[in-house]
Structure formats: C-alpha cells, structure tokens
Symmetry: C2
Amino acid sequence: VSYRDLTAHMRRISSLSHVSAIVGWDEAVMMPTGGGEARAQAMSTLDGQIHAMATDPRVGDWLQAAKREPLTPEQQANLREIERGYRRATALPQDLVEAISSAQLRCQQAWRSQRADNDWAGHEPLLEEVFRLKREEASALSERFGIARYDALMDSFEPGMQSARVDVLFSALEQTLPSLIEQVIARQARETLYKPQGPFETAAQRDLGMRLMASIGFDFEHGRLDTSHHPFCGGVPDDVRITTRYNEHDFTESLMGVLHETGHAKYEQHLPSDFRDQPVGMARSMGVHESQSLFQEMQICRGRPFMEFATPMVREAFATHAVAQPLAFTPENLTRLYTRVERGFIRVDADEVTYPLHVALRYRVEKAVIEGQAEVADIPELWHEHMQRALALSTAGNFKDGCMQDVHWPSGAVGYFPSYTLGALIAAQLFEAVHTALPELNAQIARGEFEPLNAWLDTRVWSKGSLLSTDALIESATGHALGTDAFLRHVKRRYLA
Amino acid sequence: VSYRDLTAHMRRISSLSHVSAIVGWDEAVMMPTGGGEARAQAMSTLDGQIHAMATDPRVGDWLQAAKREPLTPEQQANLREIERGYRRATALPQDLVEAISSAQLRCQQAWRSQRADNDWAGHEPLLEEVFRLKREEASALSERFGIARYDALMDSFEPGMQSARVDVLFSALEQTLPSLIEQVIARQARETLYKPQGPFETAAQRDLGMRLMASIGFDFEHGRLDTSHHPFCGGVPDDVRITTRYNEHDFTESLMGVLHETGHAKYEQHLPSDFRDQPVGMARSMGVHESQSLFQEMQICRGRPFMEFATPMVREAFATHAVAQPLAFTPENLTRLYTRVERGFIRVDADEVTYPLHVALRYRVEKAVIEGQAEVADIPELWHEHMQRALALSTAGNFKDGCMQDVHWPSGAVGYFPSYTLGALIAAQLFEAVHTALPELNAQIARGEFEPLNAWLDTRVWSKGSLLSTDALIESATGHALGTDAFLRHVKRRYLA
C-alpha cells in the first residue's frame, strides 16, 4: 500500500511536470514577448510546487515502508529511481536552491548581450557567483553521497558516472583524434563540393523535414514540429514537441537538425507506456538521450545509404534548384557536404570528428573549477591553451567564440558537457551492434525501410526506460562496456577508408 | 499582514491558473490527438491543486483578520472578491464537485457524436445525470447564500444577478422582438445582396484579420491569433490567445469572428495591471465580458462607418475577387451582408436581432429544470414550443438543430446563457453613451481612428476590473441602469430607420 501511495504521488508530480513541459515549450515557441514577465512568475510558482511535492517527507516514509513490500523487479527498479530522485531533491538546503536559481537566471539573462559584446569583464563576476554556488552544491552532494564533488554534479545528468572513467575515455580521444583530423582534412581537400544555392522557401524545407521525420518513424499523432530560435526536443512522451529554425540560404542545417531532434523524439515516444508517469519509465540519462539523437543523425542520416533514400525527396522539395544545379543534388555530393570535417571555434557547428575535443576541453575546465584547481578568472586562458593544443586555434581575447559561446555555464548546467560525447560513443557502439543483428541494414536504409532498425532500438533501448543502469543498458544492447573503440573505428571507416 | 499573506496566496493561485489557461489553449490549438489522455490527467491534477489552494482553510482565517486591517478601497474590493470566491469554492462537498466534474466529462464527450447522430435517446440519461447533480449543487449553494436555486448557479457567471430581473428584461425582448423581426425581414427582402464568391485563401484571410485586429487595438506584444475548431478567447491578460477557423468559401465568417474575439481580448489586455494577479483585477462577469465582444462586433464592426474603413483592406486582401466582383466588395453590400436578419435554428449562427430569443428560450428551459418545474425528458417538447412561438420554427424530432446544439448543458454550464443577452444589452447602452461622449465617433471609425473609443472604454470599463459591482459599473459607465431600451433603439435605428 505504501508503494501504491508512493506511485500515486509520483503520478501527481508527473502531471505537474507535464504541464511545466508544455508551458516551457510554449514560452520558447509561441509566447509573445510581452508575456514573459507573468510567465516567469507562473512557471517559478509551478516549479516550486513540484519541488515541494518532490521533497514531501511522506515520500521518505513511503520509500522505507515500500521496501518491505513484495514487488516485481520493475517496481523495485522504480523504487530505486524514486529514492535516487528523493535523495537528490532533499540533499540541498532550500536557501541554496533558491540562491542558485536566482544567480543562474541573472547570469543567463546577462550572458545574451554580454556574449554578443564579447564582454568577459562584465560576465566574469556573474559567472563567478554561479560557480561559487555550484561548488557549494557540489560539496553538499559530495558529503551526502560520498562521491567526488564534480561527480556529484555530473550525476544529475549521468547517474553513476565517475570522472575517473570519463578521464580515461576522453584522454583516449584527445590523444587519437588530432592526428585523425589532420588526415581527414588532407583527404577531403581533394574532394570537389557543390554547395546548393538558394533561396530555399521555409515552407518547402518544413514539408521536407516532416516527410523525412515520418519516414524514419516520428509519430505525428504524438508530437509536432515547430520553429524556435534554439532547436530543442520538449513536451512529454505522449506529445513530443521538437523545434528547428530555418535558414533560407541553406536547407541542410535545418534538415539535419530536424533529424537529430527526431532521434530524441523517437526515444521519448517509445519509453515504456506501462510506467509512463513513474521515474522508471523516463529516459535513462542525458548521455543515453544524446546517443539516440546522434545515432539518428550521425550514424544513420549522414551516411551514404540514407542519402540514397533522401536525395530524391530533397530534389522534389527544391525541384527548380535541383534541375539548375544537378551536381549539387546528388547522394554523393550531399553525403560529402554532411561529412565535412573542419577545425572551428564553435561547438554547435562542429562535425562529429572534432566535436569530442570541444567537449573534452569544457569537461577539463569545469572540473578544474569545481574541484578548486582553477578559478573562473583562469577560464579564458585555459580555454585558449586547450584550443591551441586540440584544434590549433587561438581564442586569445575572443571570448564570444571561446569560453562565452555556450549557455550551459551561465545557466548552471555544470557537469552536463560529458553527456554529448558519452552519447556519441554509445551511438557508435549501437551502430556496430545493429549492423551485426541486421546485416541488410544499409540496403534497408537506402530503400527507406526503417522498421527493423526502429524495432531493434525499441527492444534494446527505448522500451527499457530507466529499468537498467546506463552501464547495464549499454552492455545488454551492444555486448560491450562503454568505450571509445567503436567510435574510433566509425571515424576511420567513414572518413579514412 | 493577513491581507499581505492572503494576496500572496492569491498570487500563487493566479500563477497556477495562468499555467492552466495556457495548457488549455494548447490542448485546443496545438495538441496532437494522441496527447489527449495524458493531458486530461495532467490538467485534472493541476485543477485539483488549484482547488485545494482555493479552499485552504487559512484563506478563511486571513479573510477575517484582514477585515480588521486598514485597507484602501481597492484592497477592500479585492477582499470582497476573494471572500466571494472562497465562499463559493467551499460551499460544495468535495464528492459532489468530483461527481459533477466526471458526469460533465462523460456527457460532453458522448454529446459530440450523439449530436451528430441526432441521438436524443442516448443523450437523455447522461444529461439527466448532469442536471440531477446541478440541482444538488443549486440546492447547496441556495442554502448557503440564501438565494434562489437557479440564481445560485447563474451567480458564478453573473455575480449578484437575479432571475426576477432577467425575467423582466427577457420578457420585454420576447414581447417586442418577434414583430420587429417580421418587419426587418420584410424590409430586407427588397434589398439586393451580392455574396462574394471564393475561394479565399486562408493565409490572406488570416493576414486581413490580423491587420484589422491591430487597427482596432489588439496588442500583438501581448497576444496571438491562431486556429482552432471552436473559436475562443483564452490565455491570460499579458498573453491573450484568440482563435478562429477559416472557411475558404466565405471570408466573412472568420473575419467577424476574429473581431468579436478581439473585443474579448482588448478587455483582458486592459484589465488593471496593478491587480494583475488578484481577483479584483479580473473581468467583472461573463455578461460584461460578452458586452465587450458584442460592442466590438455588433455595435462597431457590423456598422456602416467601420465598413467604410475596412472595405479597402478587404479589397486589397482579395484583390482579384474584388476586381471581378465589384458589386460585392462595397461598404454598402458588406454592411448589408453583415446585418442580414433571418429566422434560424442555430444560436451561434444567429444575427443580433433574433439572438436574444434563442437565449431566452434556453434560459426558460434550464431554469424550469433546475427549479423542478420540468424534467430533462421534457426539454425537446419545451424547446419545440418556444421555437414555434419565438421564431415560427419546428424542432419536432430535430434534436441536433434543437436542444442538442449547444455544448453548455452537456458540459455543466447551466446558468450561463443569460450572459449573452445581458452582454448585448450592456453593449447597446455603452454605444449610446460613447456616442454622446464622442460626437465625432462615426467619422473617427470611418477613418480608422479607434484611440478615442478605446480610451473611453478603458476608463469606463476595462481598467475597472472587478472594482465595482456589475450594476454600479453599468450605471457609472452609461448613466443608466441595465435595461432593454438602448438595445431596442439600436435595433430600430440600424434595421428599420
């Protein structure tokens, strides 16, 4: 009966979180600017309500009592996830939670204009306050859970992950990728690229995106595609809201962005419906979530078989352009465009080969600050050094394309960055595993048959929700522990074979 | 300090109501069908949370203590409104509230297909259950507040209104309108009408609607126009969401619908910002709300001066049609189209002259059922008799165009119908008053100068929120008590002069 009371309480929390997700989507996609102030007030009240329910002392009592009840393995896993959430939610004093929330809001709002103005001097004190409070949070969590301070922050995105393991994985990439990048760039310098010339109407881009979304398995009965300044995947599993933005001069950006978010969306749409409103029914971790979008985008959609399938639709969508520019609208040329490797400043524009170096840099820097080996004032210099070493680029004095480019730190998301690259590693392992399981996969993709692939992912990943730990999920789905081998093999196969 | 605690509590309720309004809008406008089940669960949890806060016993304690504190007149009015809401919210036992909510939901869901199937036999037991529970509600409220049972229901839409007064007003209309309608129809039979022939593209209709919305004072910084199956005005004062639907064969329907909802929206957007999140800052009543949409639509936008202003924009929006059909796109013809009077079955399609008879019929029937003078089983026969008398139309056996046409009863909104006609009466009084105050009004409207008109409404109505009672608001704005004279003068002036 305690388990029943507990899950009823979780269901109420899930309902209010549902409402919060939809209203958050609305704010980014629909809300007129003048609605912002009242909305901020409304959302903070709602989030406070959710926090109060999540830290309700009865949850602790129910948890203790439920452990003595006869439960199925799924229910036990749910109990484990509820306890994890409860322990984290109650670990921090309320005044620290509020101080963090208000420091983040201030820093993030200032960041928008400060980044545009390259104004590190103005930004530094605000960011320092955020990191000061995140250090406090890390210390409190570290004491409570007996894990290292940085790990305690990372744990909210990657349950159970340790920086000792991230160090090993990222070091392998940092040692291997720079020379691979050099080889790939030298090789690609000999290729001829035809960049499609626009303009490409937004409506045609949108229709093409939706057609491809439907082809690869997005369920439009349970989701939508809309437009927002920063693309994201929001909503709830029964109603997934993905967004994109359109550039009339380049359809390729939005198209791949839509396919990336569709990877996130398919994961959400296929989470176990039996546990829809319970913690065990939610996505496993941010790394696993990112693995699904990167699997879709990097492993599947940027590959030649997918381009064989998609090019006729692209040509149909932009028929006049395709006729006038025949060399640009071929599977071969589009594949080349979509697998171009370049050393650049900006993480979100980076290709899959240089991307891990952008992530490793951020991981090194944020970890050093949280652990007290560096201060916020040292960040620009550390950034510059890492960029020099990793990609031979200088960010001296260039803050906006350097340490001020991401919203993560201003918004308090310290410990998130590793998830991107953990996701890329998982995606590469899944890709090797599914190729073994489905030897005809490439031919199927080229024909637009995505059901076998989706069924495999559903069984191995999506339908598992949070039943397994991340490590157990990866091992059971791919037969291997998390590592860098599959990813490095993928890079060599795609770019240097 | 009790007043402060009380208003802080109201602010939290207002925040959650804000979220509820936006999510409700999303459900009607954005949500894919598959999201419905999870959404219903989420919204009912949120509404339960709001109800729990509204009936929190501390509210009663704060109210008593706050009455002894020194307060401004506005704060006293706020206290009055808070107390009114608290007394109503706590008047009903929780199990009755839940029984009503679930009976309404069942009846309303069944109604959609039952109406289409003309299935009164299937509908009757469900509607009987709704009315049975509404009778219980009416009895409980009647005892608590010492007012008649029907009045107790009407009070939630029209605070302080009594059926004794409604009887007098509606009797005057029922006695006068039928012969006026006959005269108008005879007179209009001699007019030549040119119906604009489409198709009219949705995008062009939408652009025209938005252009006219902006002209008459809708603030797009604090609101949006979207599409939904049933047009409505939702959202919150800082972010008003109005909707319409488009018919490609007839642009006039959506256009006037948009202007009607804009009337609602302008009221919301101009409610007193000092009391944004307090009961005294909210719209006075549904009748006053309806007066603002009807003032905009009926008094202003269907009049000849507005058509002088709008016709050039209409011609621009549908340029090819306007050139090909010159007689259809004149101010004179459009005014005639928009003031056509016809005896019809359907309330929502009715013109302003026959509309009060549709409303009076519903009022007579629902009042008789609530007061126990009739049963749900009698409704079809009562409907038929009233329609015969009022509009010389038979609804024998025709339930879908008769007593099953409205969603109000299936959804439990018993006591709402009078608000439509009270709104029409108020609108006519406002129109006479503003004409006295602004003798140049017609010329201003024809030139598209709406600022003087909007400023007058803002001062007299919008900025008052719920500071005054409805009666005091009408008297102070128009110089007269609520009555039928101005409305009947308007009908004679517009249709028979």
